[in-house]
Symmetry: D2
Subunit: 381 residues, 4 copies
């Protein structure tokens, strides 16, 4: 993962740039006219002649100057009347704000006639070995990988594989919706998801099982209590509880139930997610358009190292169709790397490659059985 | 649209059925063990020897007996401690609850070897003339067509066409998310959606325009006030306000802003949507997986006429891929009729066929210009 | 794989059926008016009071009575003037021809309300263990598995995996187009496919490499000669040549080159393919709409055992989208079982499960390295 | 459609370039080692100090010098032993061959942060008015629009619309496969396509109707004779015959029949198609991956005007998914403009916009009824 330095602000082109201009917000939750709307790229604000990066970067927000002179990236709805907000529409420094659009070395000859130049395609090879190494290195350096998953992940094999990543330390936080937890818990209690067994058979009366699973957790009071009471005995949510991995379940309009842990207010839920995206050093978005775009909106495109160097924040987006990845990029998450495949197969092969790499390094955790042994049952009981 | 009668409860097979059994809910928001989980099909509960249909049918809910002896379909989260809830898992009447699964006459010879037997396919012709007639008849009989739309609808031509349906009386209620209204309002104020013009060009600095549009409405206080103040001057939301068509904007985790009218709590939002699904006699779900499934969850599969006869509730689901329609059906909305096409093209042709049919009937509204005249500008100013 | 018996022709409903009627073909390649058009289902023709199944069944063809009294399924284009061809449009025996449409036991209660009832969906679990067992059993019983593949299979890992299946005896015949062989041979000679490396990088000037690969094989005279001359040194075509596995490469309008082995006339190519589909006892169709439908057209839906019992011919269709599988079914290949995933991932996991199953049976071929060891290089050199 | 000039070969960078080097082909159908592999971009070969464009440009071919000093683009398979073929791998002139990769003015600031920057997306508006104007202008200037269609076009409404374009002079040549003609003729004779009526109903015994349609044309001897004999009475093929519009039907491995006009040898078929692609000034590729890529392979990316100026050859590719357009671009047809929608809807709206534009110009052909009047029946009888 190559790094790149901040802009050289001693360059002559920055000499004429003014300090950024801040004006007070007219009301709670309302930005001033002409506010600067942030992107997810490295951004620098000139203040007292110095170019400083605002804290907690994300796109689609304002730049707020606090009393101590620090500049923060803040969503419009979180602005309070009188907050000092940067104004300006230029990103080239001429309004005192500079956005670094060249994050990577440019291709020497990007206009040459080539085949296979599309960005996302099911016809491109998937480099699992590379992704496995990135993920292992992220764990080794103490990074914070954020996993964002849709319910397709909870069917059968993928549930066991996701559990494996949780218990082996590859998950900093899990961001998902009610349905992921519901399917996972239905599987733990009844052995089905939406009434379908793990070989894809439909069970009689199975359509009500997810409602019964939800009801039992509501009766228990929370997922953690349902684990404690022995109602949930394996799987993704069980492992998060047992391993103290934070999870955020956000509510949506299509939710059944919901489970008691779900944050049903979407603004509170965004705030809960952002606690993790601020810390994120790696993101894996699997089989979810909604949560992938939500996370992409909050995620900077880069990570800043202690020495000031930056690198692209690895953002892997897995979906069955090219469309979701393109949509994510079209909403500004240009750094997303698309993998067009079935979510279950992705999880299984990624785990396999992580295991192989660990085996090659002689560090395979002895407690964890090989993928071959537990493909059809959860790894942790 | 053929009708079908309720079951003949004088049939011998119902003679041995008991009354349904009701037990008190153990806590607020918690159903009793063994609760009956509803479907969207016609359902009858035996009480005092009579088979009565519960009120306000939907799937994934409980059956609650009130003090007056009426039976209601209620979501688990809306149950209060002590509410009397029906228990039983059988749908054949043997627990006092009968579900009518045969809503339509069966195909005489469904096993014959045929081509083109898949349910949803882009290769099937789309019968716009039939849909146009259904929609016109729905308006004539005073029905309540619910439109559920995703943001793809708001680009360019489709926005003018949706506006046309609103101002000409084909929309009972509009159910959508924040993004639909944001794009529509960005188009009214700035002439772009997500910074893209209506011919698909990208504008410089355009990525911030949706944030500026949101900010102006937040400053005004509501969409209706922004219409009143002349900030929003045409389009979908403008027409809803001017024509007093109710709309529900529900929050999601990926929302920018949001607009002040958005119901950010997903449970409150479900309640707000259900006010309209209870009244629905027709549903058109366009280019939205999330809201389509949310609506499908709340929608009965049938409409009951005053004379007791029932008919299938026409549910048209439009999407670019077969997947969304299949997913909707897989979540139980089996009555959904899939149209695999681009949402903008669907809207344009449906409007064209409605206009043709009206022209044939000599009832084309004189105030409304033909599609040919206003394809690239909003119809209402 | 459950079997089912032929119809019981002693049943009263067959008593009144006449012998089938045969009339001479009016010209070469032209069937008589009212000809019986075949399906891929078990079919019986009444002749001299006996119900006999025609030989070499396939759909969309005629039934021809030869001089020895045998009845054959023959494409219209292969009919000669004067050939005796069965006429009749009924499939219920009343024209002397009976088609057995009920190949499998019917679901007891197919009308019950269920979730997840769609036939093909990316949301359904994929039972690799089951497919691996079927494939191993097919090899053990001396079956003839036909593999039909598109070019997506030739990128990177999948090429090594396909090679593994060939050299380990799981491939009866390989049916493909020019592109599969071109990509495979480009990979062997230059290490790229369409100028893209196996990690997805684009090489300068790479767009011409497939043309250079084709040119070298054309200069050699054939794929086998290019193997002999050491031009092609590994991969799918190399292994077919070395292991004497028959392959048919059929020409298409989009072909570059083509390679000298390609059968460029589509009718000759159909005849060449049919030699293998007549023998097929198992079919795997991967990442190809064109060849999958071509094969489906020629393939009976069943295999008849020596004892007269029949079973469904297992037909696995793998594609990134539900569409191809639905299209295949819509063209009459109703027995196709759809797997919605990336072709490369499918191959990798299927191989893994076959290896696991063999390991469990202690029969892993000692010469073949584990998938872990050769993921990024071809298995056979 | 902006034009661009040839390169300025008086520029200093061309001063040091040598003449191109030609060496004899070693055998029939075999190019010499190191041959220059062409692209679809404007190309210039230095010969006797002059830069000349080779004739009949296409990609994936060689450059052959004839006895008269002219240079031709020729497929490898059409090379004869001893033909003089250009060698060289550089495209920058240093081997005497220069490829003009910058066909259009570059975006001033292509690195700015933007939304909606993906090339092909169902979320982008479709500018039908622009396409309609281009098509009308093409007709007015006497251009040669090549239409390439898949069978999805032949269902119902789209068949009437395609017929309209043929009889009104918008089609220079029609390139398709057997299936397009079979479905069209089945519709003319039996009113069905693959046994499905134009409202999507399945007919009993309908699966054989396409075979009966094929058989009748085979009996007649050709499509033109079947038109003459009154067997085919309307539709696409009927109109091509009546209006003398050339068509090429190319064979494929999945063909039923085929019809007698089909060119079953794929190399002969490529030659037959290329007669039209050489003349093409406009290309519309609808609902066909195979023929779209085949045509893209043969089509230059540009048209050269009489004055030497060049312009991009407008290439519109319509498909239900982004994948086909991306695949076409990945095979080198970078100029393709993607429209992601249902083929039937595309045809209907494009025709509507052409009619509107003609109406605005007062040149609507009086013989042709409006789309409204004949949506469900063929236009020409």
């Amino acid at each position: 993962m190559p790094t790149f330095p901040p802009p050289d602000f001693s360059d002559a082109k920055f000499a004429r740039c003014p300090d950024a201009n801040f004006v007070p917000a007219p009301a709670d939750g309302v930005l001033p006219d002409g506010f600067f709307s942030t992107t997810n790229l490295p951004t620098y604000v000139r203040r007292n002649g110095q170019w400083v990066p605002p804290r907690e970067p994300r796109m689609d927000s304002g730049l707020v100057l606090d009393r101590d002179g620090a500049i923060w990236v803040r969503e419009g709805r979180n602005i309070r009347k009188g907050d000092l907000v940067a104004v300006g529409e230029k990103e080239d420094g001429s309004d005192g704000i500079f956005v670094q659009t060249h994050m990577v070395p440019h291709d020497a000859d990007s206009d040459a006639f080539t085949f296979m130049s599309s960005e996302v395609s099911r016809e491109k090879p998937i480099d699992y070995a590379h992704m496995a190494r990135l993920l292992i290195e992220e764990k080794e350096r103490g990074g914070y990988p954020v996993w964002v998953t849709g319910p397709a992940l909870v069917h059968s094999r993928a549930r066991a594989d996701m559990t494996w990543f949780i218990i082996n330390g590859y998950v900093g936080a899990l961001l998902a919706g009610n349905a992921v937890a519901v399917h996972d818990i239905e599987a733990s209690i009844y052995g089905t998801t939406l009434g379908m067994t793990n070989t894809g058979e439909i069970t009689q009366g199975g359509h009500g099982l997810h409602m019964r699973a939800i009801n039992r957790v509501r009766a228990a009071g929370s997922i953690a209590k349902a684990v404690e009471q022995g109602i949930i005995t394996d799987g993704i949510m069980f492992s998060c509880v047992k391993k103290d991995i934070p999870f955020v379940l956000t509510g949506s309009i299509r939710d059944d139930g919901p489970l008691p842990d779900v944050v049903t207010d979407s603004l509170a839920a965004q705030d809960a997610m952002r606690i993790h995206t601020i810390k994120a050093t790696f993101a894996i978005l699997i089989a979810t358009a909604l949560h992938a775009i939500a996370t992409g909106n909050m995620l900077p495109a880069f990570v800043q190292e202690a020495n000031g160097e930056m690198r692209e924040l690895p953002t892997i987006c897995v979906d069955s169709s090219e469309f979701v990845v393109s949509k994510l990029k079209d909403r500004g998450t240009h750094q997303a790397f698309g993998v067009v495949t079935n979510a279950q197969d992705f999880m299984h092969i990624l785990r396999l490659y992580v295991e192989r790499e660990l085996e090659a390094r002689n560090t395979l955790p002895s407690a964890a059985p090989r993928a071959s042994a537990d493909a059809h049952k959860p790894a942790a009981r």
